[in-house]
């Protein structure tokens, strides 16, 4: 059984337990999915407060749909990604402006030194700006793959594309990112590997 299939089965079991009133199932599902919802909403909205509201609402919708969840239709993570994206998009439409990359929060896991932390922040800001300059499909595919670390089959499911199309989008997106960042590479000292 693949990791995706295993995750799918685990989610299904947890949802069944949740419907039967098991509070621990709710805790497990929250621990698994809330961080991703919050991160995704934050990347779209740039505001922690709004991202928390969106993540909470997305999880609430999961609780409410749980009794009617049709197994085999979608993974919970895929479903939550779409719900979170829709909720965040609604908020963006309401406030009629995009999130500024200047709103990106302090790193939650700061580097040991101030210099390294600043370098990391610079990289994050530069990459966020470069990602925003990509065509939408490339931006979504690259973000899902390399920022959210989802597998290509799941990205294909989310984007309703073939895995080959997703691979192509990611390859083109990364090439374009590299081109955008090339001009700033020297000032950001990209050649110093942190890891």
């Amino acid at each position: 059984m693949t990791d995706a299939a295993r995750q799918f089965e685990q989610d299904k079991r947890l949802l069944d337990r949740f419907v039967r009133g098991d509070a621990r199932a709710a805790e497990a599902l929250t621990a698994e999915h809330l961080p991703r919802c919050l991160a995704q909403a934050f990347r779209m909205l740039g505001s922690r407060t709004e991202a928390e509201d969106v993540a909470q609402e997305a999880m609430l919708r999961l609780w409410r749909i749980a009794p009617d969840w049709r197994s085999g239709e979608a993974r919970i993570s895929t479903w939550l990604y779409r719900v979170t994206a829709n909720l965040a998009t609604d908020r963006l439409r309401r406030r009629r402006k995009s999130a500024s990359i200047d709103d990106i929060a302090e790193p939650a896991d700061p580097s040991p030194s101030a210099e390294a932390r600043l370098m990391s922040e610079d990289r994050a800001r530069a990459l966020a700006a470069a990602l925003n300059a990509l065509p939408e499909k490339q931006r979504i595919a690259v973000t899902l793959r390399h920022v959210e670390e989802r597998g290509n089959p799941e990205i294909a499911e989310i984007m309703a594309l073939s895995v080959e199309a997703v691979e192509s989008l990611i390859a083109r997106g990364k090439r374009k990112l590299r081109d955008i960042l090339a001009a700033k590479a020297s000032s950001l000292n990209y050649t110093d590997e942190e890891t």
Partner: protein
């Protein structure tokens, strides 16, 4: 042939450089606070609580289980309901004439305009 096939692949060094950026970007993602976890779990408990509360149908069924035997179950209740319907139909039907029988003989035949005529005649 896709667009990616036509472009030169990223060199390992370019890949590493990009990965450093992705890694930095991943670290900018906020982690859920304890307060947010608590809010989400409170929502879950609320939804689970609502699911445990019986709906109207279930409440009516429970009430019937309590009072049903007093009516003789479904058959008794059905008979009571049928009698009630028949009584209402008879009550609403407009009778113009009536025949009053006493000791096997008709003692009155006529309209219902004069209710006093229905009273037994003494002597």
């Amino acid at each position: 042939m896709t667009g990616s096939d036509q472009m030169p692949p990223l060199s390992p060094r370019e890949d590493l450089e990009l990965e450093a950026g992705f890694s930095a970007l991943r670290r900018t993602a906020p982690r859920p606070s304890d307060a947010l976890y608590a809010r989400v779990l409170a929502d879950a408990a609320m939804v689970q609580g609502q699911a445990r509360q019986p709906g109207l149908g279930a409440r009516l069924a429970a009430a019937w289980r309590t009072i049903g035997p007093a009516f003789g179950g479904w058959q008794g209740a059905g008979a009571v309901a049928a009698s009630a319907v028949l009584g209402i139909m008879v009550g609403y039907s407009a009778a113009d004439e009536a025949t009053l029988w006493y000791a096997g003989a008709a003692v009155y035949e006529g309209g219902l305009d004069d209710p006093l005529a229905l009273l037994p005649v003494e002597g």
